[in-house]
């Protein structure tokens, strides 16, 4: 046990810095190379785009720290949006709570199956990925129906309103991140999350309510994915059915880039936020390059991703 963790303290700091260093480097270089990168408009858009992913990734951070994984978030994100748009005809409250409740419930079932039946999180949440997509198709008449949100409704304001040009979702995501950080580090639930992922067997013996903790994180992840969907629907003014495909992989990538161990037991919310920043900056830079052929774009994304993880890994040594 001793040698591998010989440098664990150092690791923790450096690991966090790894992503931060990469982000600072990326931002600095992009600022210099692409004059429009630093424009207020661009930064606002960057932050807004990042905020939806950040909300999803926040829940994923908790799940991954317990040593699990949640593949259903992409589908739940889309489902949440559709439910919000459908619910908006009954007013703000329904539009906001319906997706949280339904997606939270699916997350709860994920947690229940994982915690109580010892099934692998990967497979359980893969099944709910399919299930939520199916449900979405069922309530939209196989995708034929897209529910619109009245442009003047208060709910749209939630997605489109701004403070100094920065959209509300940015502030919501920021507030949730702060809250998430507090829950993770300063509450018993947070400690239980770490303990569950760090050494599940031991956690049981230490009296940690492992099953409840797991149910808690998956419920949270589902709810947050639903919230992200609701915010997106408010922003897009409609319950778009085609979003969220592959979003789970984005969320996992940003969490891991942020220094959270996939094997569980270690991770930070700040790291995830930095991870979101990195991914969005990379995407933005690819756009700034402008002339890049669309097929090269994914090659470049892949290469960037690789550079970031390798860089981080090297920094950690």
């Amino acid at each position: 046990m001793s040698t591998v963790q010989a440098t664990a303290t150092r690791t923790k700091v450096l690991q966090r810095q790894g992503a931060a260093v990469a982000l600072i480097l990326m931002v600095a270089v992009s600022w210099l190379v692409f004059p429009r990168f630093g424009s207020l408009d661009n930064l606002r858009d960057l932050a807004l785009q990042g905020s939806f992913l950040a909300v999803i990734a926040l829940g994923m951070t908790f799940v991954i720290i317990t040593g699990g994984i949640d593949l259903s978030v992409g589908s739940l994100y889309a489902l949440g949006g559709v439910l919000a748009a459908w619910g908006s005809q009954y007013g703000f409250l329904v539009a906001l709570t319906l997706p949280l409740l339904v997606c939270g419930a699916i997350g709860f079932v994920n947690g229940l199956l994982i915690a109580r039946t010892n099934m692998a999180p990967f497979i359980v949440t893969l099944a709910s990925l399919l299930f939520a997509r199916g449900l979405l198709l069922a309530i939209t008449d196989e995708g034929a129906n897209t529910y619109q949100i009245a442009p003047d409704s208060a709910f749209v304001e939630l997605g489109r309103g701004t403070v100094f040009g920065f959209g509300y979702p940015i502030f919501i995501a920021a507030a949730l991140a702060v809250l998430g950080g507090l829950i993770l580090n300063r509450t018993t639930f947070g400690q239980n999350v770490f303990a569950t992922g760090g050494a599940e067997q031991s956690a049981v013996l230490l009296g940690v309510p492992v099953a409840k903790t797991k149910i808690g994180v998956y419920t949270m992840s589902g709810t947050l994915a639903g919230l992200a969907g609701a915010l997106t629907a408010a922003y897009l003014q409609s319950g778009v059915t085609v979003i969220g495909v592959g979003t789970e992989l984005d969320a996992i990538a940003v969490v891991v880039i942020g220094g959270t161990l996939l094997s569980g037991g270690m991770g930070t919310v700040l790291g995830t936020v930095i991870g979101v920043g990195l991914i969005k900056v990379i995407q933005n830079v690819i756009n700034q390059i402008g002339t890049l052929d669309s097929n090269y774009q994914s090659v470049v994304s892949g290469v960037f991703l690789l550079i970031v993880v390798v860089l981080q890994r090297i920094l950690r040594r």
Binding site: M1, S2, T3, Q5, A6, A8, T188, A195, L205, G265
Partner: protein, 500 residues
Amino acid sequence: MPTEPVIEVAGVTKTFAGVKALDDVDFTLNRGEIHALVGENGAGKSTLIKVLTGIHSPDGGRIARNGRISTIYQEVNLVPLMSVAANLFLGREPRNRLGLIDRTRRDAEAKELLQGYGITADVSSPLGTLAVGEQQMVALARAVEADADVVIMDEPTSSLEPREVETLLDVVRKLHEQGIAIIYVSHRMDELYRICDTVTVLRDGVSVHSGPLKELPRIELVSLMLGRSVNEIQKHGTTAFGEDHHADTLPVLEALDLTSKPRINNIDVSIRPGEVVGLAGLLGSGRTETAKAIIGALPLDHGTVLVAGKPVPHNVKAATRAGISMLAEDRKTEGIIPNLSVRENIVLAALPKLSRFGITSRSKQDRIVDAFIKRLRIKVSSPEQKVAELSGGNQQKVLLARWLCTEPKILLLDEPTRGIDVGAKAEVQALIDELAKEGLAVLLISSELDELLDGADRLIVLRDGEVAGELEGAQLTREHVLNAIAAEVMDDADGNQNSH
């Protein structure tokens, strides 16, 4: 003393996939007593404890608990990635006015608390960075501070140094004075006789004896555990080691100037064929590190390892090929492959030798495995049983077997008898002796001073990652070693340990 039962167990039975771990066991723990629970490896001690604490539900029987139970389980069961303080207070963290965890206070309290157990480590660093013994003390502190009526300790001293053992025994006495009942599991007879009032002996899942301990002669206790008559058990000393070995003159292993900052510094170790060299030192003095450096599992700043005069590249594979094998201290994370069978765990390192063109030979494996199961008396339902299902001591034997079937030239043993019952321990010790006689070079790390003194022909004493002295021949006495380890240890450890 009032004999009011705090735990009462009647007719408990527990079966694991065909193995009867507990068979109609009765057990009573009275308020305020220290109750020894003894038995061979795999006798069912840990299982009984887990049934008591509700981790396992029994197949039959009834359990009555009267009061809060706090447990230190056999393997260190804390969370390595969380900080020491977080582990200590997990589930009962101090809060501030907002109901949030008050980290400053938690760390301060943790620091103060651990000082009482002789641990000065940084409480905000991950628990995993502590040596196993230190972790055991943290677990102890945690269990004791939990404000319980019953404290259960499953082999709490198996990775402790004489000094820590004393600290622990002091703690046990203090708890006893407070009227807290204690169940104490250990394979170390001395400790049992020093602190326990009552004893229950388990054999093959059956409770074969229960009664006051002091009246039971040691030899009879052992005979009860092993299920053999008293005269069948030959009189041993405290260990089963024989005479010194006659070693060749040329060292087969030379490790020179091993340095991996800040853990170990300029350590030289040389062992001749047929020689048993002991590594002594306090917890965290760098003994494990030294062994890992030799086998190539610890990145080095500098240093060379020579086998028979030839330098060995610094990686485990090369070291293994050169004939070095290492029995790791932490069998759970560095030893067993839990999913694999006993057979596969045993042949793992020797697999290439048991294969032709990369195709394994089952018959060869079976022959070797059967031989080792018999020779080490490993308790298994079949060689195909999952190793994770074995008791701790039997897992240790499986690992020993793994190394022995690679036919190494140099064997590094880090706490080889940790958690092994008396019978098996004597066998392992005799085995080490025998191996040395056959010409093996052995590096023996042990927290039990007697084992080192009797077993080793030469002792290297480490302090703070450096060689603090080498002792040989007539110098191999308790006093000398303790002197070399650290001056201040002598007083308390020496005074107490001569009682047997």
